[in-house]
């Protein structure tokens, strides 16, 4: 117990050292290149504080979160169900796996452009892009989880005449969850990045829209401040999501 706690502290100190090193490099590059190229960490911290105090910030972050998590939910549910079915039925798996691979291979930026063409610059474009990029991740997770199920437990389910729903919920889902958990952890991070990218290109009202505006006015400090806020939000959501999935 004591040694575990000691190791935990050492890890924490090492993490802090890593972050301090990043800030140091950031400061050095700023000193060499000037504020227009890279604003100093302290100035960015000041901007973050100002943004947090500004009335519209929460709405901006909320829009991006909605785009990311809404798209993830839609694409994730479709991907999970399709992956689970494909894992359970071999011919369906053979039919759907190449489709998932193709979707996964399309560059995210191409989906953004297509979404802008299909849905216009406002509204559904970021959510759709997140959904279509997260869908194959969850598909593959559920597919492999389903295929990796223990046949011995399926026999137990048959002997004890478990109804179909109970077999799925009590036996299949927990086995799939191991694989889906890893896919979902990756998908949450990717959802945020794709949402911000789609918002930048569509000039939306989320974080991406703010970054696009700041870029137009060459406000490097504002761009960096929004990045800091987005990463902080993403880390918080990932922590909560990981705890919930556990």
């Amino acid at each position: 117990m004591t040694s575990d706690r000691g190791a935990g502290w050492r890890d924490l100190v090492a993490s802090a050292c890593g972050l301090a090193l990043l800030l140091l490099v950031w400061q050095v590059v700023h000193a060499r290149t000037g504020s227009l190229v890279l604003t100093s960490p302290l100035a960015v911290a000041g901007r973050v504080r100002e943004l947090l105090a500004a009335p519209g910030t929460l709405a901006v972050l909320g829009t991006t979160t909605l785009d990311a998590l809404g798209g993830l939910a839609a694409g994730g549910v479709v991907g999970f169900v399709a992956g689970a079915l494909a894992g359970a039925a071999r011919p369906l798996g053979a039919a759907l796996r190449p489709v998932a691979t193709v979707i996964l291979g399309v560059p995210h930026i191409a989906w953004v452009v297509l979404a802008l063409l299909w849905f216009g610059p406002q509204g559904l474009a970021p959510g759709f892009t997140v959904a279509i990029t997260c869908l194959p991740l969850l598909f593959i997770g559920a597919f492999h989880g389903m295929r990796a199920r223990d046949p011995a437990l399926a026999e137990v389910a048959r002997v004890f005449a478990l109804p179909r729903a109970q077999r799925f919920i009590d036996i299949a889902v927990p086995q799939i969850a191991e694989h889906v958990r890893a896919a979902l952890a990756g998908a949450v991070g990717m959802g945020f990045k794709v949402a911000v990218m789609a918002e930048v290109l569509s000039g939306g009202v989320g974080v991406g829209g703010q970054i696009a505006t700041a870029r137009a006015y060459l406000e490097t400090d504002v761009v960096l401040a929004w990045i800091v806020l987005t990463v902080s939000l993403l880390l918080a959501i990932e922590t909560v999501a990981t705890r919930m999935l556990r």
Binding site: V156, F160, D170
Partner: protein, 275 residues
């Protein structure tokens, strides 16, 4: 008759494993199924449980059927209590009631109350197998299939669980079909022995086992085993005689068998093909 296997034929791939096996197990009776490794004992049990399709024949069970596998086969993400109650959940028993019933059974098979909420990985092999036995008994089956349930346990634990199972089965009057390689276990638990032999397997021998009193000494059990092993068909069927490969052994009808503790031995059969 609670469990009746009537002329069943089972194939694995293109190979016929069991050819016309007929077996009946009455309520309160424990039939021990023996034979060499790979002869088809587990296939027979799986067929009886509906896990393998029949090529021919018929299986009749008057009531529910439960099975204990060689490995515990528990859900690793559920507690011992939830695992024991899973069959009751399938029967639609409300949560509180199924937990009460599962807990009673777990205690009956020697489970400690502090371990009820533990996941299987936190339990020893013996404790896990107790959960598997409780899971099977929980659905109040009429017939119980046991596939070498104690094979992976050390001798002391095996004897303890055998005693546990024997009283649980006797108390409930279950029709029990037990697969084992252990003649001592057969004598301790069984009322009748059925030997599978040949390829495809047939019932090569069927005879009553000596009725030993509960808590019979090891000496009495070993003595009964020694008497049984004087039967050349049984010794051959268990792979304990070393005849020449390819030899066809024909046991004479009604070959002499010594009387066993007042039980008339009715040995029947049979032709054992050695390969």
């Amino acid at each position: 008759m609670t469990l009746l296997l009537d002329g069943i034929e089972v194939a694995r791939g293109r190979q016929t494993v069991l050819a016309g096996v007929t077996l009946h197990v009455a309520s309160g009776e424990t039939v021990v199924l023996m034979g060499r490794s790979g002869i088809g004992k587990t296939s027979l049990l799986h067929a009886a449980a509906g896990l393998l399709p029949l090529s021919a024949g018929r299986i009749t069970v008057n009531g529910r059927l439960a099975m204990v596998f060689q490995e515990p086969r528990l859900l690793g993400w559920r507690s011992a209590l939830d695992n024991a109650a899973i069959g009751l959940k399938a029967l639609g028993v409300p949560r509180r009631e199924r937990h009460e019933r599962a807990e009673t059974l777990l205690r009956e098979v020697g489970f400690r109350s502090g371990d009820l909420d533990k996941p299987p990985r936190a339990l020893s092999g013996g404790m896990q197998q107790r959960v598997a036995i409780a899971r099977a008994l929980a659905i109040e089956p009429a017939a119980l299939l046991l596939d070498e349930p104690f094979a992976a346990l050390d001798p002391g634990l095996r004897a303890e669980l055998q005693h546990c199972l024997r009283s649980a089965v006797a108390h409930r009057g279950l029709a029990t079909l037990l697969v084992t390689h252990d003649l001592i276990e057969a004598v301790r638990l069984g009322g009748r022995l059925v030997l599978l032999a040949g390829r495809p397997a047939i019932v090569a021998l069927e005879q009553p086992l000596p009725a030993l009193p509960t808590g019979a000494s090891d000496a009495a059990v070993f003595e009964a085993c020694a008497v049984l092993l004087r039967s050349p068909v049984l010794a051959e069927g268990l792979g304990l005689l070393h005849g020449r490969a390819g030899e066809v052994t024909t046991a004479p009808r009604g070959f002499p068998t010594p009387p066993l503790a007042g039980t008339a031995l009715s040995a029947r059969i049979a032709i054992v093909h050695r390969e």
